[in-house]
Symmetry: C2
């Protein structure tokens, strides 16, 4: 555990995941092994390309046995979207409620998001928003909209106050997605602790440089984020 799971606080939905040894998925409960295999296969072949037989074979069970753990194939990806959309949207909303400057909020979210995707035992790169719409996943869709609304409010406040550069923010939302996928991709070849820390700094630096009017104020934003984090930890 230790340096892993810095992003998890104590969300009860994560209890089932908290103690999975990431180095040995074959020792996990079947349900989590299905999610693991599905995440990997959907990342490489997409939702429709990853068949229930592929998934079952990777898990080491027969194809119909999957439906003892999930009602149907859609329920598998819906569970993955809980980790990919619902929890991140809640987290961004919580960070916004914690207050601080828009730059501080954005900093705290990017840092959390990077740790989140580095820590998660599942590969999330196959989870595209278009799939949420196609499969009409209501909960994920609500989360997606909530995330967008909160982010847009942070951006608007940042631009109005002059902390954020006046233009270019059309690309912030898709860029955050890309950063998450890249973190997923890299987590498979990284030893935790030191490299995770470096990547969190690289991600926050990338996003805030692109956003702040004065990138020289990044160090101040970092200090403010640490202060807010210490305050809300009480």
């Amino acid at each position: 555990m230790s340096a892993r799971r810095t992003s998890w606080a104590d969300d009860p939905r994560l209890a089932r995941l908290a103690h999975l040894p990431i180095e040995d998925p074959s020792s996990w409960p079947t349900r989590e092994r299905i999610l693991y295999a599905a995440g990997h296969l959907m990342a490489t072949k997409g939702f429709h390309g990853a068949t229930t037989r592929d998934i079952a074979e990777a898990v080491g069970i027969q194809q119909p046995s999957i439906f003892n753990h999930f009602a149907n194939k859609t329920a598998i990806i819906a569970t993955l979207f809980e980790y990919d959309q619902v929890i991140p949207a809640e987290r961004l909303a919580a960070i916004a409620r914690d207050g601080g400057s828009p730059g501080c909020q954005l900093y705290r979210y990017v840092e959390w998001q990077t740790a989140w995707y580095l820590d998660l035992p599942f590969d999330m790169r196959g989870l595209r928003e278009e799939t949420i719409v196609e499969l009409e996943l209501a909960e994920a869709q609500r989360a997606m909209r909530s995330f967008r609304r909160t982010l847009n409010r942070i951006i608007k406040t940042g631009v109005d106050s002059g902390q954020f550069a006046p233009e270019g923010h059309d690309f912030l939302y898709p860029a955050l997605d890309a950063l998450g996928w890249e973190a997923c991709r890299m987590s498979r070849n990284l030893t935790p602790t030191a490299e995770h820390r470096r990547l969190r700094e690289a991600a926050t630096s990338f996003v805030l440089r692109a956003t702040l009017t004065d990138p020289g104020s990044l160090a101040m934003v970092r200090d403010e984020a640490a202060a807010v984090a210490a305050r809300v930890a009480d």
Copy 2:
């Protein structure tokens, strides 16, 4: 035409696309209508989720008629990858050969890429690199690797010379992808000319702010890019 197609120079591979009226795809030749429908459906449902019957229905022909224009379903997406990977990789290589500072090269590429995806009549958001690997599309794979090599060389030169910030460039490549997809997404709701120009500026601003050590030098980079573009145009 006019403001559209600013990114096209006179590549013979684009001759078939150059005069398609984007406002009325139903008037295009069948081959291009298949590419248009396939791009849209694969963007929303993925390669495996977009069936040949879906595509044929959108085009208004019977499903087997597709195979009069393409040898198989893979050949359709391979053609789309020509526009999504091969041509962009060639363009980045050409820009690198034109010289100028690393920031200038990056600026020119982002500006070209944004115009490219805004101008293209097909939706490219379903074209994921994982699909290139899965389907073993050799040409697209070569282009992908060439693109990465060239970009890494630009980044390294930029960091070594001090023009680029020393960290955070792990995320530049995926961020460029995200910018391209966002341009595809936005092109469907934009009136050309003015809004395209604004988006090109937003994209270059976003990427170069994230990259440059001194974002205040963006105006200088912009001038350098204009000078190089004028020189190579001779």
